[in-house]
Symmetry: C2
Subunit: 349 residues, 2 copies
């Protein structure tokens, strides 16, 4: 009998918030790499909000995971066997191996990692989430010294990148996060000027007053990665010529894009739309996979700052692939503080 | 006794849709121009949706009209007396004289009009509405041949400009308008590929199906000048990298930005926001008064096309300043077909 690997497959599509029943842990023989392919043993799996979208059958920016298919995901790990001259056993690599202990992929789909920083950073602060924050802030946010920026999920890998970059460029940075512990981290670890606990605000209006008290000159950039109550709170605070880069909206993901009403009722679409006009806002949605060509620019600017601790990051690590579904459900509920990872420990290596 | 002029003042602020009681016709002595000033006799007053915003006390992009103040508005007319060497009696000029038969303004706030086209065009097809359409389409719409564009109020001065320019650039153009007469005009007079009667669609969903049937390849540019049901209909039809220039939203103006629910209920804010992300849309609000410096570029491109009938336009003319309030209320309800003007006839000239 061949050595076995584990993987987590999509058992059924969720109705609203995912549950245990949507996932199934399966075993399978470890595959052999063909010509040009590489066998990788996974060390860390990244859990990200976008994965919720892949579980639905709805029109989205990427094909859904099929029922019975392995959940998609970014991973870092070690080359076990290689049929390509560029990679050798022992090399550390980043690739999209999914929720699995092992995987075989063409060598050209793997990125070899340096050993100057922990390899887990390739999934967070120096990976897709970090690039998402850097790209959106730089290209769509167009930050100017003296301006005020608001970002949600402030201690997460996107929000903390956005906030730290904006601070370094001379902006006033106000975070929004769930709970006093995260808010303290945003200020103490990431250097935000202030952080508002959205759980302490009973509705969007109360959250708006709390943000406004810290933003007496209004908001020039709202970096959108959460949607929902935070969006509704910030809309009326936007200054003329404000910018709203839109990279995500975790609070809407469980709704299939169509669900629950807005916290202030049905008035918020006209209010948002009117603000876009009156304040001459620029709102730009983007999907970071369209912009992976900017990764070298991003790493050139940010990797040295991670290496010398100028830019901080925070990782939450769940242990064992079998715990990935539970950690993912927690992520969608905001239970993580920083970048959510799974330390993948294969039963048979 | 000096000669008298008439003016329409804001008697009280409207609650929702304006009524007769919000306006009052007053007489006053015709003022004398001081040094550098010019006395103008108004021939045409322009009525525009933005005036509804000026009647409210809410935060907007311009100061509200004070109670008892003359309603603001663009006008064209003839110089009666001049204390500035640049302008002579008999000159035709465009300026912001408001809802009035006469007015005195500094000469540098008047634009002298050519006699190659009727002077009323300076209020519509070759004025602020035409510039609004041209600027938004060119700068924010970034039209490409083969793309599909949707625009509301299709026979109005903004919508008809957008549609005709887009057709000339090789786009498929679908209008939305109220009633079969306007839809026939959009196709026959303005050359739209199709026009959907939003009154024949019982809700946003029905309107969406009607638009989708004419836009089998989806929508690349939604030029937003109406909001409401049309916005909600188009959102889910937007293609990746679609653009939404936002120059107005007449359907929300009577709401103070906060009113009535969306036609499909409270779900549309999340749905809009999710579409901006998933389809990577660019949404740009703009106010044309920020871009009057582009008027010469616009006139250079478009004025010859109006003179040689390559670009058509439609004017609805109400007779007499005393009828301006009624014509304005009709405009907000979509009763006009084209550019709404008032032919101003002073009681004493």
């Amino acid at each position: 009998m061949a050595d076995e690997m584990q993987k987590v497959v999509l058992a059924e599509r969720p109705q609203g918030a995912p549950t245990d029943a949507n996932f199934r842990l399966e075993s399978a023989p470890i595959p052999e790499p063909a010509d040009g392919e590489v066998l990788v043993k996974v060390q860390y799996l990244s859990l990200d909000p976008y994965m919720r979208g892949r579980m639905d059958d709805a029109k989205s920016y990427a094909a859904p995971v099929p029922i019975g298919g392995t959940m998609e995901g970014g991973t870092v790990g070690e080359v076990i066997a290689s049929n390509h001259p560029r990679l050798q056993p022992g090399d550390k690599v980043m690739g999209m191996l999914g929720w699995a202990t092992h995987g075989v992929v063409p060598a050209n789909q793997l990125r070899k990692l340096p050993d100057t920083v922990p390899i887990s950073t390739a999934l967070g602060v120096l990976g897709m989430p970090g690039l998402t924050g850097w790209y959106g802030l730089t290209v769509h946010g167009r930050p100017e010294p003296g301006e005020t920026l608001v970002v949600g999920a402030a201690t997460g890998p996107v929000g903390s990148m956005v906030g730290q970059l904006a601070k370094a460029r001379g902006l006033k940075v106000i975070g929004v996060a769930g709970g006093p512990e995260k808010c303290a981290l945003a200020v103490d670890t990431f250097g935000f000027d202030a952080c508002i606990d959205h759980r302490a605000a009973e509705d969007a209006r109360a959250l708006r007053h709390a943000i406004a008290a810290k933003a007496p000159n209004g908001v020039d950039i709202y970096f959108e990665n959460v949607g929902g109550k935070t969006l509704e709170a910030v809309i009326p605070l936007m200054n003329p010529h404000g910018r709203i880069p839109v990279c995500g909206m975790i609070s809407y993901y469980d709704m299939g894009g169509l669900g629950m009403g807005a916290a202030e009722g049905p008035n918020m679409l006209p209010r948002l739309w009117r603000t876009i006009l009156v304040q001459k806002l620029s709102v730009n949605g983007y999907i970071i996979s369209d912009h992976f060509d900017r990764l070298p620019d991003f790493l050139r600017e940010v990797a040295p700052k991670v290496a010398d601790d100028t830019i901080a990051y925070l990782e939450d690590v769940a242990d064992g692939l079998e715990n990935a579904p539970h950690a993912f459900m927690g992520l969608l509920k905001g239970k993580n503080r920083g970048k959510q990872l799974v330390r993948v420990t294969p039963a048979i290596a």
